[in-house]
């Protein structure tokens, strides 16, 4: 009897009817909406930590960059090379060159204790000794305050993130490295990448201060093109003088961030999943009481010839709508509270601190809203089915 248009208009009128009755049930409705908003806030918030960390790690990588470590080393911290080896690596085929020579920087990587601003306790801040090519090997490195350090002088430049997280790293202040005091010449940025957590100085200066002789820990190179990687890698691994591991910058940083992102995502999902179950119960409660309050109305509509499928769909729509409001609210709250929240944590591979900002990405917001929609659908389904199955005569008798 009823065409699809009639069916839709039935749904529309029942839904409108339901929505108009919300003010009468505002306690329950508010509880549900806020419950779902809570789930989405926690989900998006926790995952934004992982997203921010991953982003800091991945923007650090340029597609034609590669890092050479001693074979068996899983981070720069435990790698090591002599001068002869770093020279062979720099002169390998595939490495880009300028008039000044190959774009390769042999580097040292150590950590020093500097107090965290937020807690006042010592944190392990990475201190990197670099060669002049370092600024060309990495993308987007800019001095934003002060100036570059002078090569050969006891001076450092500090990454923007490190300057923000740790105390006493302003231009003009001095950092204490053992018995030495090195002035901070400038602050640099690196597009939010991991280098921003570091302090840089001349590799030679660092070698002297740490009694490292003429040794290095890693070599960062820029290749002619991303495609030159295989050629570069093959020439190094087939060289009997060397015992090295060659990785793309992107792979290296992905490996470095894996532990912590795994930890955060596992725990984040678990927590959000449990909360979602709780929210489903809340939503079920609200919709069941919505159905109970409207038993007579629904029975009347059914008696008037409204289809049971229209009742089911419209009740689920109502629940979905409430859940979406909660989802959007939660996502917005997470965005306000967590986006670009600056913090630092430990890189478990090298024990050094990495400053980064939480990132509430659009994908996370979409994920949060999808979760809220699912909660709404599940929370609406069973009450809707109950409403559709109401024995009309019995329900009308309650009038």
């Amino acid at each position: 009897m009823a065409g699809p248009i009639n069916w839709f208009s039935q749904i529309a009128s029942i839904t409108k009817f339901g929505l108009l009755s919300i003010p009468q049930r505002r306690g329950a409705v508010v509880a549900t909406v806020i419950g779902i908003a809570g789930v989405v806030t926690v989900l998006v918030g926790v995952l934004s930590i992982a997203a921010g960390f991953r982003q800091a790690m991945t923007v650090s990588a340029s597609p034609d960059g590669a890092i050479v470590l001693r074979s068996g080393a899983d981070s720069e911290m435990v790698s090591g090379f002599g001068r002869d080896e770093t020279r062979v690596i720099a002169d390998s085929p595939g490495v880009a060159r300028t008039a000044q020579g190959p774009l390769a920087s042999a580097e040292l990587f150590v950590i020093i204790n500097i107090p965290k601003r937020s807690t006042g306790t010592d944190a392990n801040v990475p201190l990197r000794g670099v060669e002049p090519a370092a600024l060309l090997v990495r993308d987007n490195l800019k001095i934003i305050r002060g100036r570059m350090f002078d090569w050969g002088k006891d001076e450092v430049i500090v990454g923007r993130g490190a300057a923000q997280e740790f105390a006493g790293l302003e231009v003009g202040s001095k950092i204490k490295v053992g018995r030495y005091e090195w002035p901070v010449a400038g602050i640099f940025s690196a597009d939010g990448g991991v280098a921003e957590s570091e302090i840089w100085t001349d590799a030679k200066v660092l070698q002297d201060a740490y009694n490292r002789g003429d040794s290095f820990q890693s070599v960062s190179v820029r290749l002619n093109s991303p495609g030159a990687f295989q050629q570069f890698k093959d020439s190094l691994t087939s060289n009997p003088q060397l015992n090295v591991k060659v990785v793309r910058q992107s792979e290296y940083y992905a490996e470095q961030s894996e532990t912590i992102t795994r930890l955060i995502t596992t725990l984040g999902f678990l927590i959000a999943f449990l909360m979602a179950i709780g929210a489903v119960f809340g939503a079920l409660n609200t919709m069941y009481s919505a159905v109970a309050a409207r038993t007579r109305e629904i029975a009347t509509l059914r008696a008037l010839g409204f289809g049971s499928s229209a009742v089911v769909v419209s009740l689920m729509l109502e629940s979905l709508l409430l859940a979406l409001v909660g989802g959007i609210l939660g996502g917005g709250l997470a965005w306000l509270a967590f986006n670009n929240f600056h913090t630092s944590t430990m890189n478990w591979q090298s024990f050094s601190q990495i400053a980064f900002a939480f990132k509430v990405t659009p994908e996370l917001l979409v994920r949060g809203i999808v979760w809220s929609a699912l909660i709404g659908l599940i929370g609406g389904l069973f009450p809707a089915i109950r409403a559709a199955r109401l024995p009309i005569a019995a329900a009308l008798r309650e009038l």
């Binding site: 950590i111 018995r179 449990l274 709780g278 630092s344 478990w348």
Partner: protein, 385 residues
């Protein structure tokens, strides 16, 4: 107690609503338990720290090594009972994901320093007799199905053997347990003499950090100062702090976990508060008439408030107990991140806090409906019958 039946029947009246509310309370307390365990795993080490132990490390950073000769000098400092050292080995068993700590130690002094490590005497004897011997904690032994007598290869990311290889073979001679459940039984310990002889020239005679047992815990700060003064102006200056502060430093390095956990719990309980409060408010509203009857037959205001509060508390305590029990079951199954959280367990203290919290939750959610019930005027209420 004689009203228990009435309260119980009231809860049973809307079975569906009660059970849904109950389930969301259960979920909230499962989360509570779970987050307690996470927090315990990340920052709980601080409580396990010995009050009479100091940690001495290189002043510049923990990765700088200290000369092994410092041990004898430390032993002579006033207030020091004895010192022993450990070194970070940074080994990998089969796959980098299988993370656990392995450190070379001086077996006798190590066991004396750490009474929380329980090793059967015959296994201790075997360790002292086997140069390549290693002892491993119960948790790691179970994880990799290691038995006494097994030979395990560990790839070191740091230390190279004279032949240039990174693979070190160890003989498992003992499996130790922790004195209580907070003791980390994931690390493996092996002999420093074997390690120092076998490592390549780099680092020989150098160790990672020292642990000092002090004679009087109340003198910790003074002794720490004396130790640092002893090595001042040497090529390897030291930084000495109580073990608790040292562990706390690591926890803080990971980030402000306590704050994050508290924020999540806050969000969860706020949500549950709303859901439960809403249920109770509905229940009271529906029963306005009955409450009027109770009042009419002489129930005092106090008794009415008591009835409503007892109902909400019964609901939350029931949910809380179920939730905490469930959390305990899940948590006993162990670390969900395979190795990153070695001390993952449900602390008894938090279990009690959870129970207390369930009572508080019941009182907070019940109080407004209870007051509402108390203020009912008998005549108005009866008119709504």
């Amino acid at each position: 107690m004689k009203f228990f039946h009435l309260i119980w029947c009231n809860l049973k009246r809307k079975k569906l609503r009660t059970s849904l509310t109950l389930l969301s309370i259960v979920v909230a307390f499962v989360l509570f338990g779970f987050l307690s365990a996470i927090q315990q795993a990340l920052v709980g080490g601080v409580e396990m720290a010995g009050a009479d132990r100091l940690i001495v490390r290189h002043k510049v950073s923990i990765i700088q090594l200290l000369p092994v000769s410092y041990e004898a000098r430390m032993d002579r400092i006033a207030g020091v009972d004895f010192a022993t050292h450990q070194t970070w080995f940074g080994g990998i068993y089969q796959d980098p994901k299988n993370f656990f700590m392995q450190n070379p130690v001086e077996p006798e002094k190590f066991l004396q320093m750490h009474p929380e490590i329980i090793l059967p005497p015959e296994q201790e004897k075997a360790w002292l007799a086997t140069r390549t011997g290693a002892i491993v904690g119960r948790r790691t032994a179970n994880r990799f199905h290691w038995k006494i007598g097994d030979q395990v290869p560990i790839q070191s990311t740091i230390w190279t053997r004279p032949d240039g290889s990174h693979t070190w073979e160890f003989d498992i001679v003992g499996i130790y347990d922790g004195k209580d459940k907070g003791t980390d039984t994931t690390p493996m310990f092996f002999r420093y003499d074997y390690f120092d002889e076998a490592r390549q020239a780099w680092g020989k005679g150098q160790v990672g950090w020292y642990t000092i047992r002090i004679k009087d815990p109340s003198q910790a700060a003074e002794v720490a100062k004396r130790v640092d003064a002893e090595f001042e102006n040497s090529p390897a200056e030291t930084k000495t702090e109580p073990e608790g502060a040292f562990i706390q430093g690591w926890a803080k390095a990971i980030g402000n976990i306590v704050l994050i956990v508290a924020a999540i719990l806050g969000a969860v309980f706020f949500t549950i508060l709303l859901v439960t409060g809403n249920t109770m408010a509905q229940a009271v509203r529906e029963r306005t008439g009955e409450l009027g009857v109770l009042k009419a037959i002489g129930f005092t205001n106090g008794r009415i408030v008591g009835l409503v509060l007892a109902e909400s508390c019964l609901l939350t305590v029931l949910g809380g107990t179920l939730g905490l029990g469930l959390a305990w079951l899940v948590i006993s199954r162990g670390d969900p991140t395979s190795g990153l959280l070695p001390m993952f367990f449900f602390p008894t203290r938090d279990l009690l806090i959870g129970l207390g919290l369930s009572v508080v939750l019941g009182l907070v959610t019940g109080i407004f409906p209870a007051l509402q019930a108390m203020r009912l005027r008998v005549a108005d209420a009866l008119r709504r019958m």
